[in-house]
């Protein structure tokens, strides 16, 4: 064993996920009093961001989330061995990590990606916007036409996303907008209490159904709170400590 990869921080004594991790190696725990790290042995001392490695990292964390609160590490945290995990990471940060485990207890991340079907969206815009109809095909007016289409698209996004955001408002603890890709309708991560998940999903399903045929929607989760954890969230140590 050359090094260990750190997947995340969990409660000590957590039952280990059966999922094979990076390089097919089953994850194990390194414990330090009130917190534990989910780690995997590596035969090399750095990671490659290959698809299968990224997927393995995520799969380990997703599986662990079924059993316990998980603070996910960014992909690629590699340490020399168990002693370093304890002495350079868990012990110096124990209070903050403990605080984060408590803060995120029973909270999971649900990620929604919804994108318009290009043809349907453009047809809709042409049908409903007289100015777009008039400029369509007009030589030399491409920039003006494109700007109108962009405006119409953004108005549609706001209009189409609103019913969902209103419906799930009381069911989510926090939310973060994701990147807008081409014809993005709504890409966002939601922090949801486990007990609210079923209700949350029903709203998302209903919303997806109302957009059937004009947008494709994907909902992923429950995942650990990738988009919401931050070591800075924990209270800073007192200046005199």
């Amino acid at each position: 064993v050359a090094a260990v990869v750190v997947y995340g921080v969990v409660e000590p004594g957590t039952r280990l996920p059966r999922t094979a991790g990076i390089d097919g190696v089953r994850p194990r725990l390194v414990e330090a009093r009130t917190v534990a790290a989910l780690v995997g042995d590596l035969e090399r001392d750095e990671l490659l961001a290959r698809r299968r490695d990224l997927t393995a990292h995520m799969d380990v964390l997703t599986a662990a989330t079924e059993r316990t609160t998980v603070l996910p590490m960014q992909f690629g945290v590699v340490m020399a061995g168990d002693d370093e995990v304890r002495e350079d990471f868990l012990e110096p940060l124990e209070e903050r990590l403990r605080d984060l485990l408590d803060r995120f207890e029973n909270l999971v991340e649900m990620r929604l990606s919804a994108r318009y079907d290009e043809q349907e969206l453009l047809a809709e815009i042409v049908a409903t916007d007289g100015r777009v109809q008039r400029l369509r095909g007009a030589a030399g007016r491409e920039l003006a036409l494109g700007e109108l289409v962009a405006d119409a698209y953004q108005r549609l996004c706001a209009r189409d996303a609103r019913p969902l955001l209103e419906a799930i408002g009381t069911l989510v603890e926090d939310e973060v907008s994701g990147d807008g890709r081409e014809w993005n309708l709504l890409t966002a991560s939601f922090l949801v209490r486990r007990s609210n998940r079923a209700a949350f999903e029903r709203h998302v399903e209903r919303w997806a159904e109302t957009n059937a045929g004009r947008a494709t929607c994907e909902l992923a989760g429950p995942m650990p709170p990738y988009s919401f954890v931050d070591l800075e969230l924990a209270p800073p140590e007192a200046a005199w400590a």
Binding site: M58, V77, E205, E218
Partner: protein, 122 residues
């Protein structure tokens, strides 16, 4: 990362424990999560990965021109609008897709080795 239909199964909503697209996976685990800077050791190599260049700036000349092209090539004979729009350019709808799809997800495989070894923040 196979998309299982565990839990719910609606025809309108693709459902899985993890995102099916690499772009979303990368967004979550390379950009987010806890990090101790001094210990992030990742090499980004080869065709499989990964600089995601998918961010679209909607308000840009570039985008306006692409949108205009896409909407100009839109074949409305396939839609209920056929009646109110002039029926020209029939049979072109297949080309329209390519106009915008080409740039929608630029996953650049770069041969560059990106090694982050910043000094530990705290």
């Amino acid at each position: 990362m196979a998309v299982a239909t565990r839990g719910t199964s609606s025809n309108y909503l693709q459902r899985g424990p993890s995102p099916s697209g690499l772009v979303d996976v990368v967004d979550l685990i390379l950009d987010k999560g806890l990090v101790i800077d001094a210990y992030v050791r990742v090499s980004v190599i080869g065709i499989e990965v990964l600089t995601i260049d998918a961010r679209i700036v909607v308000a840009s000349v570039d985008t306006y021109l692409r949108f205009a092209e896409a909407v100009n090539r839109l074949d409305l004979t396939q839609t209920e609008l056929a009646g109110i729009e002039e029926l020209r350019g029939g049979g072109k709808e297949k080309e329209t897709k390519g106009a915008v799809e080409g740039i929608k997800e630029g996953i650049r495989g770069n041969g560059k080795k990106r090694e982050k070894q910043r000094s530990s923040g705290r």
